[in-house]
Symmetry: C2
Subunit: 460 residues, 2 copies
């Protein structure tokens, strides 16, 4: 057996054992402190993070206290703000303050956003002056803006300096900055004129001027929208992105791991909402059932109520249904296929919007593509099911369903494709807005088409 | 108007104008080369990337050629492998070789994966010996493994060295390594014993031993699954992750931007597949319609065919439908609500699986939570619609629908919750497997429940 496999096994055993102990009860566990510490040593940090996310706050806090300080900090740092906030009571404000202190200003602010005002205040007061200042800077920017995520503790070198001067400057700035690898180059009045890197400075001759070692700066503005900025920043494979104010003065730096957090939060929300529920602020297994219910009931209700539209449509065609009961057999097939076709189109376009491949103004090209896609999909399904069902339920039923599926797919793809763009245009979240609208609209419209065709063909 | 706004406007105008020109036709554009180059200067790199992704290969290639070399490289690098591959013909193998050469070994391999064998060979031959070697190393690892994504050009310092020695060593390694910021510490036989950083080495006194500057290493194995590894790596906010073989010998380094690419590709696939279509390998607007159709028809067909199950269920209850036509009015309401409840549960659990909050073995706790959630959701919807529809269609219909919705929601949530775990257990992709299965199963089961209750209550 390879060392790797062995190592993993030992870790798994340790994890399982540790979970047994904490599950034995909140009072038993503490007495086992020594045993638990030993077990923890066998567990890689990443698994400790996962473990803690699966435990109740009280038990998670216990594990955090048992970890060596540096590791407990790393673990706490790796938790999302929502989960960090859940640990407040269990940790007690003192140990929390200790963690709070070592967080980067931007992470500190995300945590503050999750905390009750009085605790937030308490923590802020626990900070030394400079940290307090930096945190307040970030708090000053609106949620969803780059200012909220950047680190104001940014390194910088003068454009007039030499590589040697720059390295000395960076050594002096080292203690107060988050990263020193991406180095913004500024004028005397702090205007951003270029970007260089510790690597370039280190490899250059000490007398070489910084001006000859810098690239044309790629940067963002404090007011820029966070998700969009994070996406293009990540696409460019940079380590950090300088952030400037409206007069291009350097005010902060967005590090790549902050950008990653922005995207993951955004994706988390999108997946949840396109699945018809609100995103959870803490790990699934530790989320109270009532919170899960709350995160889903609204959407479920909206969708169910809008489904009443289909009831009234069918009600309007009750005569046709009575005359030919067989028609009711295919209702789920038609609404289902319509909904699926619409969602396929909506998902693809929503994703392309997020990636910037498609923009609001692309309504017409998108519409035209989806109509053609819908026509082709509809033709294939229409012919297949028309023939198949024609064999079992008679030619005329076959015709009705073939034509209906053809029409419904074309309609669904077209509507599904432009819906995310409409959502974006009216300032709604495409992932949220598209799904229920398409379901409702396509179901109702599809059934109307179905019965009109049926009446025409069957003459009911 | 702020400089920022002005700058953005200029860029937008330039983009729009540039698109006009290229859209005028593939033969017109080249004659406008000078005008286009000027326009390009006004456009930030990130927008050039977006622009190129929206253009046909021929036009994209033209823009790439007009860019200054360093910028064109950055842009090409920012495109995904699928889109890079589409540019092959338009660029011609010579200019392609130029780009290919400057890609990191791991990016080179992703591009090779997308190319026809003969072109791949051609490009490989264009590499110098060392690049050729490094690329082959990566090609040697199976798709989906860390080995495929790591950079074999990894910096390293001996554990016996001093900070001073280490810096000298890094200066020598600089030309051949991808990053020098995360510095693995190894024994004489290349075993990984720690990790330090250029920052620590630079700030330490030159005579300080590396051993005192390194942390306990967090690392991955070449055989580790790429998506899972990338996720925990990103959660820990590190810049790079050492990759070792089974005897913990250092063989490569995964940089954070490679990890980001892994996650984005994975998320892209998941969103697409949970939306019922195959992920596109190139931007939406430049994907041929027939490719869009191909990416959707299979799923659509599978779902539609499985919907035949509902047809046969309804067929079996045709007598009940004939006796009480009113029953058919609520079919979409029931199947729709069931499907939505199931998808809510499935989406949440799938996401938690990806994040590691939930593991395969958690089937029972998940099932128990979702059953309770389903009971509560079902109770609320059941009461609401039971009363509402009771008012319009008579008490007995109200009872039938109330009870049905209650039962269907409970069933749907439970099944939807465990389905991703079952998928994972049988080695299928939860995002793909859950959706169609839930729809089919819940629709059919829901209708059976509906009619059994109807028969019992209405005695039809």
């Amino acid at each position: 057996m390879s060392e790797h496999a062995q190592r993993t096994d030992r870790a798994d055993e340790a994890i399982t054992r540790l979970e047994q102990i904490v599950r034995e009860g909140d009072d038993v566990a503490p007495q086992r402190a020594r045993e638990m510490s030993t077990l923890l040593e066998a567990i890689p940090l990443k698994d400790v993070v996962n473990l803690i996310e699966r435990l109740t706050p009280v038990r998670a806090a216990l594990i955090l206290r048992l970890l060596p300080r540096r590791q407990s900090i790393a673990v706490f740092d790796a938790l999302n703000a929502g989960h960090q906030a859940d640990l407040v009571d269990a940790l007690g404000t003192d140990s929390l303050a200790a963690f709070f202190e070592v967080l980067e200003p931007d992470d500190r602010v995300s945590l503050l956003d999750e905390l009750p005002a009085e605790i937030a205040e308490l923590l802020m007061r626990s900070l030394d002056e400079s940290d307090h200042g930096l945190t307040n800077v970030i708090l000053g920017y609106p949620k969803g803006s780059m200012g909220r995520h950047m680190s104001p503790a940014v390194p910088m070198v003068r454009v007039t300096a030499t590589a040697g001067d720059a390295l000395t400057a960076l050594r002096e700035q080292n203690d107060r900055v988050e990263t020193i690898y991406t180095v913004p180059v500024v004028t005397d009045d702090r205007k951003l004129v270029g970007v260089t890197s510790l690597r370039q400075l280190l490899m250059a001759a000490p007398e070489e001027p910084v001006a000859s070692l810098m690239d044309r700066p790629i940067y963002a503005h404090t007011s820029d929208e966070d998700e969009e900025t994070a996406r293009w920043f990540l696409a460019l494979d940079l380590l950090a992105l300088p952030v400037v104010d409206d007069s291009t003065r350097l005010v902060g730096l967005l590090s790549i791991d902050d950008a990653v957090d922005i995207i993951e939060d955004a994706d988390h929300e999108d997946t949840a909402r396109s699945g018809g529920s609100e995103p959870l602020q803490q790990p699934y297994l530790t989320t109270p059932v009532w919170r899960l219910v709350r995160s889903r009931i609204v959407w479920l209700g909206v969708l169910a109520v809008s489904a009443l539209l289909t009831v009234s449509v069918l009600d309007a065609f009750e005569d046709a249904l009575a005359a030919a009961v067989v028609l009711s057999l295919f209702i789920p097939l038609i609404t289902g296929t319509g909904g699926n076709t619409g969602n396929q189109a909506a998902t693809t376009v929503t994703r392309s919007l997020a990636l910037g491949d498609v923009r609001k103004r692309d309504v017409l090209p998108v519409m035209w593509r989806e109509t053609r896609v819908g026509l082709l999909l509809g033709a294939m399904l229409g012919v297949f099911f028309g023939v198949l069902l024609g064999v079992f339920y008679g030619a005329s039923i076959g015709v009705v369903l073939g034509v209906t599926l053809f029409a419904v797919c074309t309609l669904a793809a077209t509507v599904g494709g432009i819906m995310p763009l409409v959502a974006k245009a009216v300032g709604a979240d495409p992932a949220v807005f598209s799904n229920p609208f398409i379901t409702t609209f396509v179901d109702a419209a599809g059934l109307i088409i179905y019965f009109l065709i049926a009446k025409a063909v069957l003459g009911v």
